[in-house]
Amino acid sequence: MLLKVRNLSKSFQNGTKAIEDLSFNIPAGKITTFLGFNGAGKTTSLKIILNLLLPDEGKIYFENKLLKNDFTPLLKQTGVVLESTRNMFYALTPMENFIYWGAQRGLNKKVARKNGLELLEKFGLLSKKDTVIFELSRGMQQIIAICCALISRPEFLILDEPTLGLDIEAVETVEQILKTLASEGVAILLTTHELAFAQRIADQILLIKKGQLIYSGSKADCLDKFNQEKFITVQFSRVLSNEQQALLESIAKIISINNTTYQLILSNRKDLSHLLGFLTQFKLIDLKTKNKGLKEVVDFYMKGKNEDGSIKSRVSA
């Protein structure tokens, strides 16, 4: 594991418990997404990891070394893009920024220039190398900020809301950049409110609610757990008889949507072929399957909502 966080807690002077007993791991070469509502403790956790904020309790290990007062080993290997702030000098050009931020990380001008040019070429902004940041679009500014964070080729990249305020095209570019970096072995930890983006990009998810971690694990496992039940919406060409309905009910739980349309819920995916075999005797107008995504996962854990939108009586992991 590249980063291990153990039992992190932080309260503020006004008595607010920002985070409580948080423990998680960040592996190399994976994109870990921190999900949670505003004020859940995502940014606080990031700031503690980055030594911008001192925790009340807890330990942080980077490359299996416990970080106490000196966070230099982590900072040397970590590029960061923070939310809603200028992560670079807007009066300078991308290349001037690369030289400046590279130097703060110990790179000489030549190496910073070389790395900067490579990054700009990789992310399709080579033509903007000498344009003052102020003159670039919001999406381009965000990509340059990511380039600045990557100037010393760090092993770890932290991004706080990297898609905030970006248009669809820019979000797609950022997504591609992050996927490329992860495939090159960079560990990425990001926070986001955009669940569709998280769904596409995350390998691992951390769900945080009121300062407490309520889920930590791979996205695939999480979605697999949520998709044990299969949801199929079927529109028949005619109304089913009571007998046919009873037969259907013996295979799947059915919810009538209208006279000819039903939602079928299979509690076990093994029954799928059985169901499809049964459906072949009918003329079907339409058939749709629906997998639960991160939105449903977040609804379940955070809001305690069921598939049909009703409120769960109890939220359990």
């Binding site: 904020l53 900072l75 200028r86 992560n87 300078l92 400046y100 130097a103 703060q104 001008k109």
Partner: protein
């Protein structure tokens, strides 16, 4: 060293990119002095002329301090406001080193500006000051004190964020301190004043330039003491404030 060089380059790029503003600042400083000079001359009918060298030295030093300390303060405020400060704290170099680099750049650039201002003042007033090599000593100690004052101002910015009005008050306090000729005061006042930042160095400088007799050991010891004590105070306060800010998580607040 690479970080310091990059800090220099960044500052020079900004100067070049906003050349009109940089030249206007210099012109304004020179005009301000000329305003004081002509105004005082017309009221006091040349009395000020007798201590013109002292006035030029005092004013030049004031511009150095003003542009170093105030610039450091306002730059840090702007960086806190924009969020750059947080990004700077995420660099693997220590915050002490980071602000040392920034102070170094500010002091050097301000010093360069002050030389231009001083030359311009001598040219306009016709009062050519005879600088001797001895001036280098009080200058070096002044620079050390300036580092200490720089850390103090940065600490205030980190702790209280908006200190624009306080910076303005500081400018006038420096002006008062630098234009008062404590070397001519009673022994008690003179000794007490030596604890104020920069006072022994400025007095020493004035005495050297005017060619007056002075006690070398007295000014050397007070200058060493003054520079070390203000540097230590600056670093101590900076360390404390850094801890408070990290505990409260208020680095990004503005």
């Amino acid at each position: 060293m690479v970080a310091l060089k990059a800090e220099f380059q960044r500052e020079l790029i900004i100067y070049r990119r906003y050349l009109f503003s940089s030249i206007s600042d210099l012109a304004l400083t020179i005009l301000m002095f000329m305003g004081i000079f002509w105004g005082s001359n017309s009221i006091s009918k040349g009395i000020i002329g007798r201590s013109l060298s002292a006035l030029i030295i005092g004013f030049t030093l004031w511009t150095t301090i003003q542009s170093t300390v105030s610039m450091l303060g306002s730059n840090t405020m702007n960086n806190a406001k924009s969020g750059i400060l947080q990004q700077l704290y995420l660099m693997p170099i220590s915050s002490e080193r980071l602000f040392f680099n920034r102070s170094m750049v500010n002091i050097t650039i301000s010093f360069g500006q002050s030389i231009i201002v001083c030359l311009a003042l001598m040219l306009f007033t016709g009062q050519w000051i005879n600088f001797t090599i001895m001036v280098i000593w009080p200058t070096i100690f002044s620079l050390v004190t300036l580092f200490g004052l720089g850390y103090l101002i940065i600490s205030l910015v980190l702790r209280f964020k908006r200190i624009g009005s306080f910076l303005a008050i500081c400018q006038y306090l420096y002006l008062g301190i630098l234009l008062t000729q404590f070397e001519k005061a009673d022994l008690l006042v003179k000794n007490m004043a030596n604890f104020l930042p920069l006072v022994p160095m400025v007095s020493w400088m004035r005495l050297i330039i005017s060619g007056s007799a002075y006690n070398f050991k007295y000014y050397l010891s007070f200058s060493v003491f003054n520079s070390i004590i203000w540097l230590l105070i600056g670093l101590f306060v900076f360390e404390k404030v850094n801890k408070i800010v990290k505990k409260q998580g208020s680095l990004s607040f503005y």
